[in-house]
Amino acid sequence: MNRLSILLIICAIFSFGTISAQKGQKKADNETNEWRYEVEVVGVGKQGTSQVKVWTYSENPETATNQAQKNAVHAIIFKGFPGTGGQQALARNPNIEQEKQEFFKEFFKDGGTFQKYVFLANNGVIGPGDRISMGKKEFKIGVVVSVNVAGLRKNLEQAGIIKGLSSGF
């Protein structure tokens, strides 16, 4: 086997890996849009932040960890956090996601503005009981993240997506 063949094989392996990762990310994004994730409150963080555990469905723990941040922000905007210490959704208009589609597409894109308001707790380390096998090719993975709800609310208010408490007065 000459050098060229070896190079081609290496390239193919790398490109396959990249395509597979992209496919996994796209699938995860679709699931976020379809609300296929679960969120539970872990605790009240420092002022204006909430600490939540996000359960994401994925084949790949790395994808799940990244997607958990997006899901947490998605949840607090549209769904709210249930349970003790939970919060209601920031957007009170149930159709806001469709009405402001362009804004949210840009907001939730990879590396989008949403990342400013969420960070992984414990460097994204997944706890021993937080990786549940859901079948041959899928895991349900729980990742703890902190969401800066106060900052996120201000951003959405400034963008005119939600109304501030004193708007109109």
Partner: protein, 319 residues
């Protein structure tokens, strides 16, 4: 050229004032509930004509209870951060005391004193349009402690609860009471604000909900059942005016006798137009319209009194 730019800028400013008039902002103040004051021993007891009456002693509570001060300060801080600073109970009480002392000493150059009727004296209390009533209890199970927290937003005029948040926090072995209280505030205030925002949204959509009381002086020759002023009794003529001047004709006549009428759930518009610009409306301004209507159409003199943004009283038959 400069003059042109100035004219254009003025025109833009004026038009934005016309288009985006601002509604009158309700004032909000946090007070500990009667229940909390009673449980913690901050009540004043006095004999009210043979009946023992207990009223909360806010001053004593604020001077002696640091936990209460902490909770009020935390809520004030968070509300200010949301762009809605609150009136502070302690400062209001101090201002009232200082004003009372100053008023007592005030004298004109000619030796005249300030005019003050008994009703003026009665009205010298801390005021707010919405009261945020606060209650918490400490639950102890063995070494564990938890807080049950209850925050109620009460409209001062309609007596309706317009917002609320309550719940019990997670029990803790180690956390101290101030820490548990701060945690309770942080975890409940956002939900409270969601409901408060819903209340404001409803107000912008359907008008401000207020109360109007109509009364009559005993020196007046007529009453509300008199039918000399039009094609119906005066009470019904009053109802017609209210229906014509409320948002979607919304109001309820809660009580009506020959001497008094009580209108509740009266939805008044948030703005009125004057000199081409929109101005914020309050109940006094709105009821002033009724006062003028009675004077212009039926030559009935009346006295208008107000109670904050949301309650007006009109006494017919004189000033």
């Amino acid at each position: 050229m400069l003059r042109k730019i100035f004219t254009i800028m003025m025109a833009v400013l004026l038009s934005s004032t016309v288009l985006f008039g601002q509604a009158k902002k309700p004032t909000i103040m946090i007070v500990p509930s009667d229940n909390w004051c009673l449980t913690n021993g901050y009540m004043q007891v006095f004999d009210n004509e043979g009946k023992v009456t207990k009223v909360p002693d806010y001053k004593k509570a604020l001077q002696e209870n640091s936990d209460l001060l902490l909770v009020i300060s935390k809520i004030n801080e968070l509300m200010a951060d949301r762009g809605f600073p609150l009136k502070n109970l302690e400062s209001s009480l101090k201002t009232l005391e200082a004003n009372a002392a100053e008023d007592a000493m005030l004298m004109s150059k000619e030796g005249g004193e300030l005019n003050e009727s008994p009703i003026d004296k009665l009205k010298k209390v801390a005021k707010a349009d919405i009261w945020m009533q606060l209650t918490w209890t400490v639950n102890t199970t063995g070494p564990k402690k938890s807080i049950t927290f209850n925050l109620q937003g009460l409209d001062a005029y309609t007596d309706k609860q317009v917002a609320g948040a309550s719940g019990t926090g997670t029990p803790s072995f180690t956390a101290e009471l101030p820490v548990l209280l701060q945690e309770a505030v942080l975890s409940h205030l956002d939900n409270f604000n969601v409901q408060l925002q819903n209340h404001f949204d409803d107000m912008f959509a359907n008008g401000r909900e207020v109360i109007l009381r109509i009364m009559t002086w005993d020196t007046w020759d007529y009453d509300l059942e008199t039918d000399e002023f039009g094609d119906d009794e005066l009470g019904f003529l009053l109802e017609d005016w209210i229906a014509d001047n409320t948002v979607n004709n919304r109001f309820s006549t809660t009580d009506a006798t020959q001497n008094m009428m009580l209108f509740e759930q009266v939805r008044i518009p948030l703005y009125y137009e004057r000199n081409g610009s929109q101005r914020a409306m309050d109940t006094r301004r709105w009821a002033n319209g009724l006062m003028k209507y009675l004077k212009d159409n039926f030559e009935i003199e009346s006295k208008l009194m107000m109670k904050g943004l949301g309650q007006a009283q009109l006494v017919l038959g004189g000033k």
